[in-house]
């Protein structure tokens, strides 16, 4: 018969007919359907046993309680803890996305690294831990051998009083250097101001939850100020009270921030005029006799001088001119504040990851003193530091002793900056103004100065001059890209570390993070690394670090909590920890061993709010009173010699007013006026965009609006009126130029912006990290030229004269 | 969807919709099959075509 076309057709027809009587067509159809539903490249998360591990968030000093949901060894979700007093259930967006910071390989240093590319390129080669530690130790040992130990400088971004901070300072000192430099923070301003006015640099807190009138001078309550977990909860408490007519929040800020928009009253004062406004309010309070006369006469000194100054120089008429706030508004705030039962005037600038202005803070603090709301419910709370045990003193050898006594590079604590503890901006200046960097080896811990410090152009110039930089950052941040050696720390989800009293918390609380997962990469806890380095330097240095590991140091310090008696290690949530108590709680543990075990599983030790009474000696000034007229400042001016013969001490300290006012909270005036730069650039912060050391998790970029970031451009917010003067429309490219630099951004027009001010978000413009974060927007820190806050010596970053043009 | 599918519901909506649909399909299919059969018949000589 042969294979003809006809026969083949018949064969085919028969075949097709036959096939339809087999399961093949519908089975294939079913399988193909399934195939199209399970593409092999779509990840399938493995199933397993669900576990929940309790810990504490370590991304910011807020110290929120977190519980991590795990599937076998994988962490799959971070949630807030309801059994933690700081944040009953909620956490901030960054904390929520923390797992991306744990797992994203391109965000992390996956092991000890040696730089192979040029500085800033991020090209590293992985080395062994032994080699890394040996390299650092040899470097320090050689400085010690050559008696140049002061050339070892460490920069620390950990919060003050944390054990890791102590260890870093200890290593620096034990090696023989006085140059332990801290990153600036709002806490520094609080501490300095309180030391001057109250003689007490103990932790200060604002008792927001119990307050009924919150007068906020620029604090980004909803932008991440203090611990966002706690503050947002406090906000809910205040809103709940407000809905029953029992609480008012007034936000003083030039921009309609979230806090301003959400508060009961938004007062738009010109940036940098908070001191004038506070003193204007004080004027009305004193004029109308609304202040707490009993407190003022019993517990303050210098009131008469203060009264004279305020009544003489800060009349509402004058304040209107300075601040742009109406007379009625000033009167209303004075009335509201003074007539409230538990008012509090709080001071801050954005999140508080950078310093504030000292005289502004003191002016605001004067309001609190007028109302006498110190250590009273709803007021400001000054308390003792956590009763942690102190570590044994270091035993420096001759080399170290010599080194420690050399002057600090940043001049903090010298006659020029008598009240400053640490001034990293000065360190940058010193390096940039020397031919050869006086700093030989820089150790950077939990900080990203190359990105977060104002005037970041200068910072990067200084970093480039430093011969050897060692970064301990777990993240591939800008500063670590400048480093020659990276000894990556664990992330906060992989290590045990303490959170010593979260920022701004009224009651005493000690938090402890725990390893939620086994280390994902070849990293080591920085505390352990420090001990290892010290041991490798030489025996003398090693003798200051007699511990097996970091955890034993933590345990030794925690013993102090036990020894202080009382305290609780379990929180039930029935009664908030900020409720005022008259009798002390607990303890709810049997022995120190029991306490430590419980702290390690539940991550907390705390005492409910029980501040010391006002007459129990919290004012440790010369007069043992709250000083409106600051005697210590008078002393520093009158008794200390001037730098140059015949010089003016006040001028040297940066104070421009004269007479008694110079020693009291006062408004310094605006000295920035410049015809060429008619506008003001004010950086602002957002709760959903990290602007500090730890990066934003990529998740958080979902929450950024596209009029804040679009593609690779960030936006500067401008009032539509101002924009029209420059013929700028929504979305236009603009060039913003200051003395320091010119940057390109896009314009976002908003009626929430004060005319004449350009607002730029902090946190964009990264050049490191990975594709989620890198090359998005511009960092306003680039624009900020060097400038010093009077008396404190900290940088002035909140206002920068600029001009704009269409770009 | 065929009536023995698990998502099938015996309600008015389904009956009307699929009723009409399958009717239309059946009509078209039947017509084509008839034309095919007629062709086969004529080609094979079972019947005589009218205009050929």
């Amino acid at each position: 018969m042969g294979v003809t076309r006809r026969n083949f057709v018949k064969f085919a027809i028969g075949g097709v007919a036959g096939l339809h009587l087999t399961p093949l067509p519908y089975k294939l159809m079913d399988d193909i359907a399934i195939w199209t539903q399970n593409w092999p490249w779509v990840p399938v998360p493995p199933e397993g046993e669900f576990l929940s591990v309790k810990s504490v968030c370590g991304l910011c000093p807020g110290g929120c309680g977190i519980q991590v949901r795990k599937v076998d060894e994988r962490a799959v979700k971070i949630e807030g803890r309801t059994d933690y007093p700081v944040n009953p259930g909620g956490i901030c967006p960054s904390g929520m996305g923390g797992l991306q910071l744990l797992y994203d390989r391109d965000l992390r240093h996956t092991g000890p690294m040696k730089r192979v590319g040029p500085r800033g390129s991020g090209d590293f080669m992985e080395i062994t831990w032994d080699e890394a530690i040996k390299t650092v130790a040899e470097r320090i040992a050689s400085l010690r051998k050559n008696a140049k130990t002061e050339a070892l400088v460490s920069v620390d971004g950990n919060s003050k009083g944390s054990t890791l901070s102590l260890m870093i300072e200890r290593l620096t000192k034990a090696a023989g250097s006085p140059n332990y430099v801290r990153m600036p923070s709002l806490e520094d301003t609080y501490e300095m101001g309180n030391l001057l006015m109250m003689g007490n640099n103990g932790p200060m807190a604002y008792d927001l939850e119990n307050s009924d009138y919150v007068l906020s001078f620029g604090s980004g309550l909803l932008e991440g100020w203090g611990g966002p977990g706690r503050i947002m909860n406090a906000w809910a408490v205040l809103r709940e009270k407000a809905s029953k007519g029992g609480a008012t929040v007034v936000q003083i800020e030039s921009r309609a921030s979230n806090t301003a928009s959400k508060s009961d009253k938004w007062i738009a004062a010109r940036p940098g005029t908070d001191a004038a406004l506070a003193l204007g309010i004080a004027h009305v309070i004193i004029r109308d006799n609304l202040y707490d006369q009993q407190f003022v006469s019993n517990y303050t000194s210098g009131f008469e001088k203060f009264k004279t100054m305020v009544l003489g120089q800060y009349s509402p008429e004058k304040i209107v001119d300075i601040t742009g706030v109406g007379k009625e508004a000033i009167k209303a705030m004075a009335d509201g504040f003074a007539r409230a039962k538990a008012p509090v005037a709080i001071y801050g600038k954005g999140k508080g990851t950078l310093n504030g202005s000292l005289f502004e803070f003191m002016s605001v603090q004067a309001l609190n003193a007028l109302k006498g709301n110190i250590n009273k419910p709803g007021g400001i709370i000054i308390s003792d530091p956590l009763p942690l045990a102190t570590l044994p003193a270091i035993s420096p050898d001759g080399v170290a002793e010599r080194g420690i006594l050399t002057p600090r590079f940043d001049q903090a604590g010298t006659n020029k900056y008598p009240f400053a503890v640490s001034l990293i901006n000065n360190l940058i200046d010193v390096i940039n103004h020397s031919d050869k960097s006086p700093v030989d080896t820089l150790l950077v811990f939990s900080a990203n100065p190359a990105f977060t410090l104002p005037d970041s152009g200068e910072v990067n110039r200084a970093l480039k001059k430093i011969p050897f930089i060692v970064s301990f950052s777990p993240f591939r941040d800008e500063t670590s890209f400048m480093a020659d050696l990276v000894l990556p720390d664990h992330s906060y989800l992989e290590k045990t570390d303490d959170i010593v009293r979260p920022n701004g918390l009224q009651y005493q609380l000690y938090g402890l993070t725990r390893p939620v997962v086994k280390p994902v990469y070849n990293t080591r806890s920085a505390g352990d690394t420090i001990i290892n380095i010290a041991k490798a330097v030489d025996t003398k240095t090693a003798s200051s670090f007699p511990w097996k590991d970091y955890e034993s140091v933590l345990k030794i310090r925690a013993k102090g909590l036990f020894d202080s008696g009382g305290g609780l290690v379990r929180y039930k949530g029935a009664e908030p920890a900020w409720k005022w108590k008259t009798a002390s709680d607990g303890p709810d543990y049997k022995s120190f061993g029991d306490m430590w075990k419980k702290i390690k599983t539940d991550g907390l030790w705390y005492r409910k709010l029980m501040p010391s009474a006002i007459d129990s000696g919290i004012f440790k000034t010369a007069s043992n009173r709250f000083e409106f007229f600051i005697s210590q400042l008078e002393l520093a001016v009158k008794d200390y010699p001037t730098a140059a013969p015949g010089g003016n001490r006040l001028k040297e300290l940066g104070i421009t007013v004269e007479g008694d006012a110079a020693f009291m909270p006062h408004y310094e005036g605006n000295h920035h006026h410049d015809e060429q730069l008619p506008l003001t650039m004010a950086p602002y912060e957002m709760v959903n965009l990290a602007s500090g050391w730890a990066p934003s998790p990529p998740f958080a970029y979902k929450t950024i609006f596209d009029d804040q970031l679009l593609g690779s451009d960030s936006f500067a917010i401008i009032n539509p009126g101002t924009a029209s003067e420059f013929r700028i429309k929504q979305g236009d490219y603009i060039i913003i130029q200051s003395k320091a630099c010119a940057v390109k951004a896009r314009a976002s027009l908003s009626h929430g912006a004060m005319p004449g001010v350009v607002y730029m978000p902090l946190g964009f413009g990264h050049t490191a990290y990975d594709e989620f974060i890198r090359e998005k927007g511009v960092n306003p820190n680039l624009l900020i030229p060097p400038g010093k806050d009077p008396l404190s010596g900290h940088p002035v970053w909140w206002t920068t004269p600029v001009k704009i043009m269409k770009g | 969807m065929l009536p023995f599918c698990f998502e099938w519901v015996w309600n008015v909506d389904h009956i009307i919709f699929f009723g009409l649909l399958y009717t239309a399909l059946t009509i078209v299919a039947t017509c084509v099959v008839i034309a095919a059969i007629k062709t086969v018949m004529q080609v094979f000589g079972f019947t005589r075509q009218r205009h050929f």
Binding site: N7, K10, G18, T22, K27, D30, I34, Q37, F50 | -
Partner: protein
């Protein structure tokens, strides 16, 4: 062969001469060959091609492990190893920790068979989970709560998994090359027909059971999909 094939065609040709042109040269035979070939292909060759088979790491005897149980098919017997966790989730194939409970006991006589030796040396000693191949693995889009079915629904394990408490040898693991499903989901029969409740594990089977038991509300999509 040739004769028999031509026979029917010659009858047809005799009856309808016009057909002759079409039926000659074994045309029917071609059709028939195609037809039968397709049947053979669809019913016999296709299932062979469709499934790949893989050996399990070693043999496991349910019978041996259930020797002391009164009824090897009883839910409680199964739950000894295929247990529920505290949060109600189901362990599925037990992990090494579970095996350890008995196999680490120095007093029980162990190491009887080669398979057991494999287990003890390659997995137990190495602390390595046994990479068992699951016969009833559902795709990622499926959510299945054993607690709802076993604890609330009081359905026996064998209703879906079939009786295998007395089995001494693990069946050969076969996997669909296209869909990647184990053969048990569609069922051993290529036709897809089933006689027992455990013969198939497709969505229709879930829905059928829900409906039969009067739980049509559980045919809502999100009950079984995630």
């Amino acid at each position: 062969m040739k004769n028999s094939a031509e026979k029917p065609s010659s009858i047809v040709v005799a009856a309808f001469p016009a057909l002759g042109r079409y039926v000659s040269k074994g045309g029917w035979l071609c059709f028939l060959a195609g037809f039968v070939g397709a049947l053979f292909l669809g019913w016999y060759v296709f299932p062979k091609l469709l499934y790949s088979s893989q050996p399990q790491p070693f043999n496991f005897s349910h019978k041996v492990h259930l020797e002391e149980a009164d009824d090897p098919e009883d839910v409680e017997s199964c739950l000894n190893c295929h247990a529920f966790r505290d949060d109600g989730t189901f362990v599925g194939i037990p992990r090494l920790d579970k095996c350890k409970e008995c196999h680490e006991d120095p007093e029980s006589p162990l190491g009887d068979s080669d398979d057991e030796a494999t287990f003890l040396t390659n997995y137990m000693a190495e602390k390595k989970e046994v990479p068992w191949l699951s016969y009833s693995r559902q795709p990622d889009c499926v959510y299945f709560s054993h607690a709802a079915h076993v604890k609330m629904g009081e359905i026996e394990c064998k209703t879906c998994h079939g009786p295998h408490g007395g089995s001494e040898v693990l069946p050969l693991y076969r996997e669909n090359r296209i869909s990647g499903y184990p053969i048990g989901i569609w069922g051993e029969r290529i036709s897809g027909l089933k006689t027992n409740t455990w013969d198939r594990m497709k969505m229709d089977d879930c829905a059928e059971c829900h409906t039969e038991k009067g739980h049509e509300e559980n045919n809502a999509c999100f009950v079984c999909h995630k």
